[in-house]
Symmetry: C2
Subunit: 327 residues, 2 copies
Amino acid sequence: MNNEFDWIQSVSPKKLHQPSVKVGIGDDAAIYSVHSEFDQVVAVDTMVEGIHFTRKTMPIKSIGYKALAVNLSDLAAMGAIPLYYLVSVAVPKQGWTQEELSKMYEGMDQLACKWQVDLIGGDTVSIRDTLVLTVTVIGKVKRDRHLLRSQAEEGDVLFVTGEVGLSAYALEHLLNDESPRVDQSSFARFLKAHQEPEPQLEAGQLLAKGDGRVSLNDVSDGLAHEAKEIAEASGVNIVIDWDSLLIPQEFNTHPIEKQEDWMLYGGEDFQLVGTVSAHYWNELVLRFKEHHLLLHKIGRVEKGEGTVFMKRHGTRSIIEKSGYHHF
Amino acid sequence: MNNEFDWIQSVSPKKLHQPSVKVGIGDDAAIYSVHSEFDQVVAVDTMVEGIHFTRKTMPIKSIGYKALAVNLSDLAAMGAIPLYYLVSVAVPKQGWTQEELSKMYEGMDQLACKWQVDLIGGDTVSIRDTLVLTVTVIGKVKRDRHLLRSQAEEGDVLFVTGEVGLSAYALEHLLNDESPRVDQSSFARFLKAHQEPEPQLEAGQLLAKGDGRVSLNDVSDGLAHEAKEIAEASGVNIVIDWDSLLIPQEFNTHPIEKQEDWMLYGGEDFQLVGTVSAHYWNELVLRFKEHHLLLHKIGRVEKGEGTVFMKRHGTRSIIEKSGYHHF
């Protein structure tokens, strides 16, 4: 890249949202101040061209948006408030223009502005063939307020914060060149779920409010996979009630196996899935209603050792983790 | 990769050094506690196969070691105490065995243990061709104690914490297959400088002690480049005195142009370069002596607008940034 320095300047934020940032981009490392009444929360995720996206499945701006979104989703799953992010990008020597890279950063910036998250550092390096985008996010959560996947208990309500399967449905249509054939106005929300998913930060923060026990995951690898993670980490069984799931009406004309593929194994939905005690459930539902957010019961937690069942029309079957496979 | 979960388990630390870690690897994000008397310091760096290293120039264990070292060096350049790191690795579908990856993590672990830094998170993804290794490090520094490159002032002493040019000398010999021809016992320290550089954390922390003004960089892109960065960020001129530089005796048989290439433009030395007031200088030298560390004067800061000069045998020439070019 020519003028790497100038380019980095051009994507560096002109104004910061967080007054805690003392040194941002431009020195060897970034510096920010902290308060000991909060714990710090950090996550990192990498998106690779040809594995997690292609130019066919993602507009360039969405690649940036999604790379930040999947990281913010990890913070949402801890009930955290996001504060800062760092971006390391390996840029192929050919095939990506500086304008395209800037568009990718615009996508990140759009989401960052919404959540008042500041870009405070990064690295820009060369690579031979494919773009690799790694985002690190840092946030905070009230001290000792931890929403872990290991905290589910027998008798808990299993919930999700929204519909699942939308991203997988969109991806399948994009890969099979079927997107022109579907109703565009209805397809838009599926496309959005795949290309520019909304990290459920508000829901995560609502769940972190108060001090009721909450177990929580984000649905990055499919509902089955995430439920299995909670079940195994907590040493319980989980029953997903198929008839309770919110099934998009567009799925109705497809065979049940397809619906299962999208909704149980689809992945990349970035809704939150978790459990709370039946006692705490009603309080939470009210809190979510007040904030016009969805909290939807889809099953329950039973005594057990890490098995996930699906119940449909009164019949139970064991479902496996086998989650999401990238193309 | 088969058994990704098992493999991640195998490289996850069994024991943590920092009691502040509340949630490490195994949930959506890591959580750690903080004290408000410290600021947090964070940096990220990426190493790409075929760009920053090849199997010819680096043993696999050293790839891991160096990826963490270059990040710790960024913290050293802020005078920070490192605490945690996260590793995101994109692994080619072919060409890397699980054993080799584990070796790479061993290299990181070796350095991490030395500095009591904990691996608290990461991501493992696939890529088509080349390995990409991104490390994020987080540390702390006393509140408002910032060693920035913008803090040099007219009259300052310019210093380095050790020899420069060793890494470039080693790399050139490795790339030209000349390493068998050099004296192996003498070549070992050059090889070490290139493959497993020591981040100058102790020196950085000594510089952060007390409250004297310090401007500081790590020599990742060559002495000329780093001096230029300090000069430009501070709005001063810098004069490097060639005759003050510690020149390895192995360099003596090579033409002066070669010596300059290695020492001024070589890069990846990961020594620290910086400036302090002449008044503060003597105090610092004593402090470094007490700790058996080198602090070596190599020039001075003058009034100016960002120019770097080299003085040799009484003659001055302007030197440019043009630092280090990866192969």
